[in-house]
C-alpha cells in the first residue's frame, strides 16, 4: 500500500465516522459513544501494557478520579465543565505521578499486584466520602456546551468523543515513532539496555504511566458529562479488568487494537445482554461468566488479539511503505574528542566481590585516547565483570575508575553513558520487534531531547530526521544500510552484535567498550569488523575490547591487558604478551 492510498483510506474512515450518526439509530450512537470512551482507556493500556510491559489493574480508578473531579467541581462549585476538564486532568495526572513514583520501581509481578491494591482502594474511597455522595454518587452533572451549543444529545457528544479519540490515536502514533517512543518500546529490554544509551527506565516508565492515566482521565471527563451521573461501581477493579480485556481482545501490540477491542467487547456485551435474558433468568450472572471465560480463552489461544491476527495475515501481503528518502538535514552535533594520547580512562585497584567470590581483584590499567586496548583472559577470568564495573553496570566493591578526569565509580550507568562511554553486550540486548534503524536510533537518545508532548504533537520532526539520518549513517558504516527497515530479530546472532556497535556509535562515544564483538562472525565479516574498528581509531574514537579470537585481537589492538582468576596477569604490546610465559601457562596450562 502506498502512502497516498493510506491517506485516502484514512479519509474514508473519518468520513464514515462523521456520517454514522446520520444513518443509525439512537441506541447505536450511544453504543458508539461508549466504545469511544472505552477505546481511550484501552489506548492507554496498549501503550502501558502492550508497548511498555507494565500491566495495570487499576486503570478504571483513573477514569473515576477524573469523572468525580469534574462532577464535584461542576455540581457543587457550579463551575464550567471546561474548567472541570483542566481540574480532572490535573488531579488524574498528579495522582498517577504520586502512585507511579511509589510503585513503578517494583519489579515483575509486584507492580501489577500493587495496581490491584490502589485500584480497589480508590474505588472504595469514592463510595465512602460524604462530599462525593457515598454509594449514591453525584447526579445532575451539567452537559458540555461548545459556543452556546449544548451537547446533551448523544449525537452531539458523539462528534466530540470521536474527535478526541482520533486526536489521541494520532498523538499515540506520533509518540511511538519518536525519540521518547523508542525508549518506551525498549522498556521491555530491561533497565540496563536503556541505561546504556543514557536513558532512565524508571523515568520513561513514569512518563508512560502518567500518559496512560491522562488518557483514562480524558475518558472519565467525557463519561461524566455524557452520562451526567457518576457512582463508584463503574470505576472498580472489575471495570479495570474489562478495559484490560478490551486491550487484550483487540491486540496489545497495536494501537488500533484499542479501538477494535473496545468495539468487540462492548458490542459483545450488548449482544449478550439481549440474548441471555431470552435463554435464562440469570442473565447478569451468565454475562460475567461468559466474559471471564472469553478472556481466559483469548489468553490461551490468541494472546495477540484480533489485530495481532490481522497483522499476521496482512504482513506478508502488504509491505509497509518504506519511508521516502528524506531531504538531508543538518547532522547532529558531534562532541569534541580528547586529543590523541591523553589519558581518558584509568582503573585503579578495582575489586568486585560476589559474596565470598572475588571476581575482580585489585585490577589497574589505563586507556589513552585514540588507542585500541584488548582485554583478554581464559574463561572465568573476570573480563565481563571488569567491563560491567567500568561502565558502572555493576557497583564496585572497592577501587576507583576515572573517565575523562571524573571519578565515575558509583555513578549511575546512564550518567556514564552520557559522558561518552558507549558499550555493547555479550548477551545481545536488541529489540527484536523494532527495525534495525530504530534500534540504532535508540543509541542517539542522549544526544537529543524531544519529550512526550513534543513528540506526540509532531513538533520534533527536524530533530527526528537528524536522528534517523545519523542512524542510517551508522548502519551504512557497518554495511547494513540496505536492511534498515527489517526487524532486528531476523538477523543472525553475529550480525546482531555488529548492530549493537552501530547503536553504540550513534551515541557519538569517546570510548567504545565492546564485549566479544566478533563472536559468531564469519571470517569475511571479522575482517570487515577489524577494518571498521581501525577506521574508528583513525577518527579518534578509543576502543576497549574483550575478545576470544586471539588472531583477531592480536592483529587489531595496540595494547593488551591479560586477566586470570580475577587479577591482572600482564599488560603490554601484543608481541610481548604472546611471548610471555605466564600468559601461555594461563591459556595452555604450565609445563611443570
Amino acid at each position: 500500500m502506498s502512502r497516498s492510498a493510506l491517506r485516502v483510506l484514512m479519509l474514508i474512515v473519518v468520513i464514515a465516522f462523521a456520517l454514522t450518526p446520520l444513518v443509525v439509530g439512537n441506541f447505536t450512537v450511544s453504543l458508539m459513544n461508549d466504545i469511544g470512551i472505552g477505546a481511550l482507556v484501552a489506548l492507554g493500556l496498549v501503550l502501558l501494557t502492550g508497548v511498555g510491559g507494565a500491566t495495570s489493574f487499576g486503570q478504571a480508578a483513573f477514569v473515576g478520579i477524573a469523572a468525580y473531579a469534574t462532577a464535584w467541581l461542576t455540581t457543587t462549585q457550579g463551575l464550567s465543565p471546561w474548567i472541570g476538564l483542566l481540574f480532572a486532568l490535573l488531579l488524574t495526572g498528579v495522582s498517577a505521578l504520586a502512585i507511579g513514583m511509589l510503585t513503578l520501581r517494583l519489579g515483575g509481578h509486584f507492580l501489577p499486584l500493587s495496581t490491584i491494591a490502589w485500584g480497589l482502594s480508590i474505588a472504595m474511597l469514592f463510595g465512602n466520602v460524604d462530599a462525593l455522595g457515598r454509594h449514591t454518587g453525584l447526579s445532575n452533572i451539567p452537559a458540555l456546551r461548545i459556543a452556546g451549543w449544548s451537547l446533551t444529545d448523544p449525537r452531539a457528544i458523539y462528534y466530540l468523543i470521536w474527535f478526541i479519540v482520533g486526536l489521541a490515536m494520532l498523538f499515540s502514533y506520533n509518540l511511538l515513532e519518536s525519540r521518547p517512543g523508542r525508549a518506551i518500546r525498549s522498556l521491555r529490554g530491561g533497565a540496563t539496555l536503556l541505561a546504556s544509551v543514557g536513558a532512565d527506565a524508571y523515568r520513561v516508565r513514569l512518563t508512560l504511566f502518567v500518559t496512560a492515566a491522562l488518557l483514562a482521565g480524558l475518558a472519565g471527563w467525557l463519561y461524566a458529562h455524557m452520562n451526567r451521573f457518576v457512582s463508584p461501581a463503574p470505576f472498580d477493579v472489575r471495570a479495570s479488568i474489562e478495559y484490560l480485556l478490551m486491550a487484550v481482545a483487540g491486540g496489545l501490540g497495536q494501537l488500533a487494537g484499542a479501538l477494535v477491542g473496545a468495539a468487540l467487547v462492548l458490542v459483545l456485551k450488548n449482544g449478550l445482554q439481549d440474548v441471555l435474558p431470552m435463554l435464562t433468568q440469570r442473565a447478569g450472572q451468565l454475562e460475567a461468566i461468559a466474559f471471564a471465560t472469553l478472556f481466559i480463552v483469548l489468553l490461551h489461544f490468541a494472546r495477540g488479539g484480533l489485530m495481532g491476527f490481522v497483522r499476521r495475515v496482512t504482513r506478508d501481503r502488504f509491505k509497509r511503505p518504506s519511508p521516502a528518502a528524506a531531504a538531508a538535514v543538518e547532522p547532529l552535533p558531534h562532541r569534541q574528542l580528547p586529543a590523541r594520547g591523553t589519558r581518558i580512562l584509568s582503573v585503579a585497584g578495582a575489586v568486585k566481590r560476589f559474596g565470598g567470590l572475588v571476581a575482580v581483584n585489585e585490577v589497574s590499567f589505563d586507556v589513552d585516547a585514540g588507542e585500541i586496548v584488548g582485554l583478554i583472559g581464559p574463561n572465568g577470568a573476570g573480563k565481563s565483570t571488569m567491563f560491567n564495573l567500568l561502565t558502572c553496570t555493576l557497583p564496585m566493591s572497592a577501587g576507583q575508575v576515572r573517565f575523562l578526569d571524573r571519578d565515575i565509580a558509583g555513578m549511575p550507568q546512564r550518567e556514564v553513558a552520557r559522558l561518552g562511554l558507549a558499550r555493547t553486550f555479550q548477551h545481545v540486548k536488541l529489540r527484536p520487534h523494532m527495525s534495525l534503524l530504530d534500534n540504532v536510533a535508540l543509541g542517539a537518545h542522549a544526544r537529543t531531547g524531544a519529550g512526550v508532548l513534543k513528540a506526540g504533537l509532531r513538533l520534533d520532526r527536524v530533530e527526528e530526521r537528524q536522528i534517523l539520518q545519523e542512524a542510517k549513517k551508522q548502519l551504512d558504516r557497518i554495511g547494513l544500510g540496505e536492511r534498515a527497515h527489517e526487524l532486528a530479530g531476523s538477523l543472525p546472532l553475529g550480525t546482531q552484535r555488529i548492530l549493537e556497535i552501530a547503536r553504540a556509535l550513534a551515541a557519538d562515544p569517546v570510548l567504545l567498550v565492546l564485549d566479544e564483538p566478533a563472536a559468531g562472525l564469519r571470517r569475511q565479516e571479522k575482517m570487515a569488523l577489524g577494518e571498521l574498528l581501525r577506521k574508528l581509531r583513525e577518527e579518534g574514537v578509543t576502543i576497549l575490547i574483550v575478545e576470544h579470537d586471539m588472531d583477531f585481537v592480536m592483529k587489531l589492538v595496540d595494547r593488551l591487558v591479560v586477566m586470570n582468576f580475577g587479577s591482572k596477569l600482564v599488560e603490554g604490546v601484543p608481541s610481548a604478551v604472546r611471548a610471555d610465559a605466564r600468559v601461555q601457562a594461563a591459556y595452555l596450562g604450565s609445563v611443570v
Binding site: 517494583l106 501489577p112 499486584l113 490502589w118 482502594s121 450472572q285 489468553l299 495477540g304 520487534h433
Partner: protein, 351 residues
C-alpha cells in the same frame, strides 16, 4: 482507646491474622511452585463456607455440581490432549484421575447431605469436597499455559476469579450464610476479659497447620520436591521431578487450606459467594510482605495485616479495607528499596 478495647481489638486481629496466615501459606505455596498468583484462592474458601452452610440447613450443597462440572472440563481437556498426541492408551487412566477421583468426594458429600450426619463429619465432607477445585481449575486453565509469563498468568488468574464469583452466584445464590460455631464456651482471662472458643480454635488451627506445613516441607520427599521446584523448575525436572505433578500437589494443598479457612471463618463472618476475594487479597498483602516466597515473613505479615485491620475498623469501619490495602504501598516500597535490582528481560507479547 482504653486498654480493654485495645486488648479486644488485638485478640480480634489475632483471629483475623490466623486466617490470613493460612491463606498466605496457600498463596505462597502455589506461587513459588507454579509462578501463578492464585487470585481465586479466596473464592474456594467462600465455597467451602457456603457448602458447610448448605449441609447445616439440610440441603445438598451446590458445590457438588460445581466440582462435577470442573471435573468434566478437566477430563475433556486431558482427553483432547491425549487424542491430539495419539496416546489413546492413556485415556482410561486420565478419566479415572480427572473424572472419577474428584467424583468420589462428591459422592461422599451427597451421602452426607442425605443422612444428616453429625457436624464433624459434615465438616470433613465439606473440606474433602473443595479439595479438587483448585487442582481441577489448574488443569483446565493454567496447565496449558504453564510457560506463559507471570503477567499473563496473573491476568488469567484474575479473570478466573471473576469467572468463579460468577459461578458462585449461579450455584449458591446471592444470600449470605453463617454456620454454627465449631467451638462453644469461652476462656476467661481475669478481670472479665474473655476470649471465645472459636477464636482460640482459629489461632490454634493456624499454629498447628503451619507447624504441619513446616514438617512436610522439611521431612518428606514430596515436600522437598515442592521446594526443589520452587527454587529451580528446570533443575527439578532434571532430577526427575515432574513440575506438572508437583504443581497439582501444591494446588491440592492450597485447596485443602482454603477449605479449612472456609470452615473456620464461616461461624464468625457472614459469607457471601464473593466474600472470598477480599480475604484472598488481604492474604496477598501478607504474602507480599514475605515477597511471595518466604513462609515465616508471610506469617508475620499475616499477623500485621490482621492487627492493622482490626484497629483500623475501630477507627473507621468503612475505610478499614482502604487502610489495609494502602498498607501494601509502604510494604512494596520497602521491598523494592531492599531488593537489589535484578534486571530481567521481560517477555514479548506474542504477536
Amino acid at each position: 482507646m482504653t486498654w480493654d478495647v485495645a486488648l479486644i481489638l488485638a485478640v480480634d486481629g489475632l483471629a483475623n491474622g490466623a486466617i490470613y496466615l493460612l491463606a498466605g501459606l496457600g498463596l505462597v505455596l502455589i506461587f513459588s511452585v507454579t509462578r501463578v498468583v492464585f487470585v481465586p484462592f479466596g473464592d474456594v474458601a467462600a465455597f467451602a463456607a457456603l457448602t458447610l452452610a448448605a449441609f447445616e440447613t439440610g440441603r445438598t450443597p451446590p458445590t457438588i455440581a460445581l466440582v462435577l462440572t470442573l471435573a468434566a472440563l478437566a477430563v475433556f481437556t486431558e482427553v483432547a490432549g491425549l487424542v491430539r498426541r495419539g496416546e489413546h492408551a492413556r485415556i482410561p487412566k486420565a478419566i479415572a484421575v480427572w473424572g472419577l477421583a474428584p467424583a468420589l468426594p462428591c459422592l461422599l458429600a451427597w451421602l452426607a447431605a442425605r443422612s444428616g450426619l453429625p457436624a464433624a463429619l459434615q465438616i470433613a465432607a465439606t473440606v474433602l469436597l473443595v479439595v479438587p477445585i483448585a487442582p481441577l481449575l489448574a488443569r483446565v486453565v493454567f496447565q496449558p499455559i504453564a510457560d506463559a509469563s507471570v503477567l499473563v498468568l496473573l491476568i488469567v488468574s484474575l479473570a478466573l476469579h471473576f469467572l468463579l464469583s460468577g459461578l458462585g452466584l449461579l450455584f449458591f445464590g446471592p444470600e449470605g450464610s453463617r454456620t454454627n460455631p465449631l467451638a462453644s464456651g469461652a476462656l476467661t482471662l481475669g478481670d472479665g476479659f474473655t476470649v471465645s472458643g472459636q477464636v482460640i480454635l482459629m489461632v490454634a488451627s493456624a499454629l498447628v497447620l503451619s507447624g504441619l506445613f513446616f514438617l512436610v516441607f522439611e521431612r518428606t520427599v514430596a515436600g522437598k520436591a515442592l521446594r526443589a521446584t520452587a527454587v529451580n523448575r528446570v533443575g527439578a525436572r532434571l532430577v526427575g521431578i515432574r513440575p506438572a505433578r508437583t504443581a497439582m500437589l501444591a494446588y491440592g494443598c492450597a485447596s485443602l487450606l482454603a477449605g479449612l479457612i472456609g470452615v473456620l471463618i464461616a461461624p464468625v463472618t457472614t459469607m457471601y459467594y464473593d466474600s472470598g476475594f477480599i480475604i484472598g487479597l488481604k492474604a496477598f498483602v501478607a504474602a507480599i510482605i514475605g515477597g511471595l516466597v518466604s513462609y515465616p515473613m508471610t506469617a508475620i505479615g499475616a499477623l500485621a495485616v490482621g492487627l492493622v485491620e482490626s484497629f483500623a475498623s475501630f477507627w473507621s469501619g468503612a475505610l478499614k479495607d482502604v487502610i489495609v490495602f494502602s498498607l501494601l504501598i509502604p510494604v512494596l516500597m520497602l521491598r523494592s528499596f531492599l531488593s537489589t535490582q535484578a534486571d530481567e528481560d521481560e517477555e514479548e507479547v506474542d504477536q
